[in-house]
């Protein structure tokens, strides 16, 4: 079959349906089956089960518990660490992406792309080790700072605290920002800055009137994606904290492993559903902005 769209009259409705099915849907069936079974089905079931009581009757009690202590603090902390880690990483990451994309050689850009890809995926125990070695009580940076007269551990600081975790999260948030923001920079055409200059614009007014307005939507979109990444990170938090910092992903993990027991068997599912809702609030606008800006970036 070639790609022409055949729009002829079909002999009968049944045959027509079959033909249209083969033409319009059949080749997508393997993908739909895999995504359906391995993704949509588990998510649908998660949502369904989150509304079941221990006796398998319909209830919203799981959600009532999910928004009470200690889960309430868990959500607040997770949202806080998502917002702060995204806010701190977004601007430096965007500036770094700008200089790398506009000033870097092709070799440099490719090396940075590979490194960011690896670094944005670091997490868990390896990342925890790196920061213990640098900022732990015996860490090199800690000793160096102490030598300079700043004792990190004089107060309540530890890598498992909120501030500690925030610093560690930046290690994968910054490269992630470079990855997601770079395409927007690439799409800023050199001609625009030249055109603006020819028309008499200063570097400053180029940025205020053209550069920043063009990049702003992508910047917000990237921020939202970073929020979702920090909000739902599990491995690193699991490696660094020892139950001292309530975070929703850890609470869900604890319930799932049976380390923590709750009166409601399906509480973990309700927490998962609330997480999905919060994450969707960030990722869906991100996708919408991406889609809009993809239009002019291509054109």
């Amino acid at each position: 079959m070639t790609s022409q769209v055949i729009e002829g009259g079909a002999p009968s409705r049944g045959r027509a349906f079959l033909a249209s099915f083969i033409k319009n849907i059949l080749p997508a069936v393997p993908l739909l089956l895999i995504v359906g079974f391995f993704f949509l089905f588990p998510i649908a079931r998660l949502i369904y089960v989150s509304f079941l009581s221990n006796e398998n009757t319909f209830t919203i009690d799981n959600f009532k518990t999910a928004v009470q202590e200690p889960y309430r603090t868990g959500f607040l902390n997770s949202i806080k660490i998502g917002v702060f880690s995204a806010a701190i990483a977004a601007f430096p990451g965007a500036v770094a992406a700008y200089f790398i994309e506009t000033r870097g050689s092709s070799k440099l850009r490719r090396t940075i792309a590979v490194m960011s890809g690896v670094l944005a995926n670091t997490g868990g125990v390896p990342l925890a080790f790196m920061f213990y070695a640098a900022l732990g009580i015996q860490g090199y940076l800690t000793k160096f700072l102490k030598y300079l007269g700043w004792d990190l551990y004089a107060g309540t600081f530890s890598l498992g605290s909120f501030i500690g975790l925030l610093i560690v999260y930046l290690y994968f948030q910054l490269p992630l920002m470079v990855i997601v923001f770079s395409p927007a920079i690439v799409s800023l055409r050199r001609e625009w800055s030249e055109a603006a200059r020819n028309l008499g614009a200063s570097q400053f007014s180029y940025w205020i009137r053209i550069g920043i307005p063009l990049l702003f939507p992508s910047f917000i979109a990237s921020f939202l994606l970073l929020f979702a990444s920090g909000f739902s990170a599990y491995a690193t938090a699991n490696a660094l904290t020892v139950g001292n910092l309530p975070l929703t992903p850890l609470q869900i993990g604890g319930l799932l492993d049976g380390n923590v027991s709750a009166a409601q068997l399906n509480l973990g599912k309700a927490l998962g559903v609330v997480m999905i809702v919060i994450s969707a609030c960030a990722v869906i606008p991100y996708l919408a902005i991406q889609r809009r800006s993809a239009k002019w970036q291509k054109g």
């Binding site: 070639t2 790609s3 769209v5 319009n24 849907i25 080749p27 997508a28 393997p30 993908l31 739909l32 895999i34 995504v35 391995f38 993704f39 588990p42 998510i43 079931r45 998660l46 500036v95 770094a96 200089f99 790398i100 506009t102 870097g104 092709s106 490719r110 590979v114 890809g117 690896v118 670094l119 670091t122 997490g123 868990g124 125990v125 390896p126 080790f129 790196m130 920061f131 213990y132 070695a133 640098a134 860490g139 090199y140 290690y171 739902s232 599990y234 491995a235 929703t248 992903p249 869900i252 993990g253 799932l256 492993d257 599912k269 998962g272 997480m275 999905i276 994450s279 990722v283 996708l287």
Partner: protein, 259 residues
């Protein structure tokens, strides 16, 4: 891009790289220094690396992670390349639906996905480690899909396919011998990111109670910290090397090389 402009020293770029490099390499080098300490002699050596490599579990888990990642890559290519080619050629109404579906995994936090996976699959799926490549496929889907989509968008797909078909190639040959080589840049990028994601996946794997290389590191950390640090360093370097090799294989913008 900036062809013709000779790369000269760029202070803002240099400062950016210096700051980023400091943040990236100080923790990495500190951990590396720990990993080559030999507490018994007080000097440095590769003791912990040798110890790690000699552990039976080392090869067991690294091979397992590698083949799971390999299977994920195969599933990704076998499913996505034909499906996307077809979506681009036909004007199927499901295109919008599938575009949307492919992005959906970004919305779902992995922890929530793990809970759903744990309560959904029948025994025969939960009992085989082969469930993991399919779940990794889902996690990598938004990136893999987009990468291949961009590749297919940048070529005159219809013309190429019609030429191959009228020269007598069947669909299988058209895809493997014509389309894939033409978009090899995107294909390589897809392989690289799918492979790296599968190799390093921790959250889903550990919550579904499977053991792979990343979860083994956690286990080792309980009784040999320095050995575990050595393994962690390797777990950073191995994907880095694999990705570098894969991306270096493909000359930049190879897909636009045909003008």
């Amino acid at each position: 891009m900036a062809k013709g402009i000779k790369v000269r020293f760029q202070p803002p770029l240099a400062i950016t790289l210096l700051i980023l490099g400091f943040f990236v390499f100080v923790p990495m080098i500190s951990a590396f220094e720990y990993s080559i300490r030999t507490p018994l002699t007080g000097g440095y050596g590769w003791t912990h690396y040798i110890w790690a490599v000699r552990e039976d579990d080392f090869f067991h888990y690294i091979l397992r992670s590698m083949w799971l990642a390999g299977v994920t890559v195969l599933i990704t290519l076998f499913v996505l390349v034909p499906t996307l080619t077809w979506l681009h050629l036909s004007r199927s109404k499901v295109r919008g639906l599938i575009d949307g579906l492919s992005l959906l995994p970004l919305v779902i936090p992995v922890v929530a996905f793990a809970v759903g996976a744990q309560i959904s699959f029948p025994e025969f799926v939960q009992n085989t480690v082969l469930e993991l490549p399919f779940l990794y496929f889902v996690l990598a889907l938004p990136y893999a899909y987009r990468s291949l989509d961009i590749g297919l968008n940048s070529i005159p797909l219809k013309t190429i396919t019609e030429a191959a078909r009228s020269a007598g190639a069947n669909w299988w040959r058209t895809i493997t011998a014509v389309i894939v080589p033409v978009i090899r840049g995107s294909v390589m990028a897809t392989i690289a990111l799918t492979f790296a994601l599968s190799l390093g996946e921790y959250t889903l794997t550990v919550l579904l109670h499977w053991d792979t290389f990343p979860t083994w590191v956690t286990f080792v950390a309980q009784d040999n910290i320095l050995g575990a640090i050595a393994i962690s360093m390797m777990s950073l370097i191995i994907p880095f090397l694999i990705l570098t090799v894969i991306t270096l294989f493909v000359p930049e913008r190879s897909m636009q090389g045909r003008k």
